[in-house]
Symmetry: C2
Subunit: 87 residues, 2 copies
């Protein structure tokens, strides 16, 4: 499971793009249990899309289900001119 | 900024509790810009609370604003008997 790669290479100079990363991890008590992460995934993407203009091809979603832990990683490149919608 | 601590100590035996961690990181293009993470924070917590019974005192929220990157870390211990509500 890749940790937040862009943290390790934080450039001092302002970057020409914006980026939003979301990492979700659910540690289950029992093995066969339903997947909370799969349930949350669409709703969290919908919350983000409400506030940020998102190009579908600039959204990278990775989900990994282990025996006890399921992780979801969402990596979104935000177009500069759009940036954040007024809340 | 602490990375997902419980990833490093994944126990093979099933744990007696469930845990959900959310890590959000927004890398901004310009320094003074509004805080997307602060905008998303409440709505993401609301999405989670819809699907998981959350005890307020078992929710740990940490936000750190750096020059270019703002991070939000949410750490929720989920009571076993509650677990995930039927979606």
């Amino acid at each position: 499971m890749s940790i937040f790669r862009f943290f390790s290479k934080q450039t001092s100079a302002p970057t020409a793009r914006e980026r939003l990363q979301v990492l979700l991890a659910h540690e289950r008590a029992s093995v066969g249990q339903s997947d909370l992460v799969a349930v949350l995934r669409e709703e969290i993407l919908a919350v983000i899309a409400k506030h940020v203009q998102v190009d579908r091809d600039k959204v990278n979603v990775t989900m990994e289900r282990g025996e006890h832990v399921t992780t979801l990683e969402v990596d979104i490149e935000i177009p500069i001119k759009a940036g954040v919608r007024a809340a």
